[in-house]
Symmetry: C2
DNA sequence: TTCGTTGCAAAGGATTTGCAGCGTA
DNA sequence: TACGCTGCAAATCCTTTGCAACGAA
């Protein structure tokens, strides 16, 4: 899907098609991995020197509200965001170093059977964390560590 | 398992058995659900007026390092912690309102087969989020919402 | 006595918000 | 023109840290 398609969708929802919004969207589409607000602005400052971090955050929030992107917090401190798949439900292998992902088609939910009596399921989260082929070969980053859970 | 058992374990690791540490541990054992640092100090201030939030955070970190507790971030903003099960690996249904949990014995990892070529698996995360029987009956809290993912 | 622990005050870091000017529809 | 969008500065919120006094071993 191209940036324009998303921009049209946003327009239909009452948002405006600004250049900066479009660029942020393009960047997310190009990267196709989890990136932080900081990474976004750092990578985009060359071509868009006037882009501010606030604008990045505001647009991320808008796009998240609209279901265009999804957030994860596999890295301590900051959230990371990526373009959400609009078609099929799936999960990810996620590289905790670079945010790259690999698709996991299998969803564990059907295997669970019904939820415990009285529990209302609103959502679920399944992620396999580790290093992608590229990152496991590079210097270990002291910043990297397993987040909550194992 | 009782607080004393954990305290002994900590002692063997070079930490000291202080009263406040023991009380925080007791509280976590009693609650047996995900609680935030803020909840811990709020609930404990009556009996321990001199307990500080910093001490709570420092102890949480220590206990997390030692594998005694586990962290999750299903609620926006703050982390929540609970006593970790020392025996069998499992996952949880988690109430996003009160942090209560129900055990999911099934782990999706064996169903995945081997990881993609070159990907080094370090850990995984599987949580089913929603409302527990008690919380779904109460006033909806505007603070509540599905975190990242669905 | 030694060294981990704690409270206080302050610092950090990520994210959000008030406001006035700008840009899209 | 109307109203969403943006940058700037400042504020929040959660969490961490420096330091000196305190407490466990």
């Amino acid at each position: 899907m191209q940036p324009d398609a998303y921009m049209s969708a946003l327009k239909n929802r009452g948002y405006r098609a600004t250049g900066k919004r479009r660029e942020i969207l393009s960047f997310l589409l190009d990267e196709n991995r989890y990136v932080s607000a900081r990474e976004i602005i750092d990578h985009m400052r060359e071509k868009h020197p006037t882009l501010s971090l606030e604008t990045v955050y505001r647009n991320l929030r808008t796009m998240q509200t609209e279901g265009i992107i999804e957030e994860s917090r596999f890295k301590e401190g900051e959230s990371k965001y990526r373009i959400a798949c609009q078609t099929d439900h799936h999960h990810h292998y996620i590289c905790i170093r670079c945010g790259r992902t690999l698709v996991i088609k299998h969803c564990p939910m059907p295997d669970l059977g019904r939820a415990p009596e009285g529990f209302t399921v609103l959502g679920h989260r399944f992620e396999v964390l580790g290093y992608c082929p590229d990152c496991r070969r590079s210097e270990p980053d002291p910043q990297d560590h397993m987040p909550e859970g194992r």
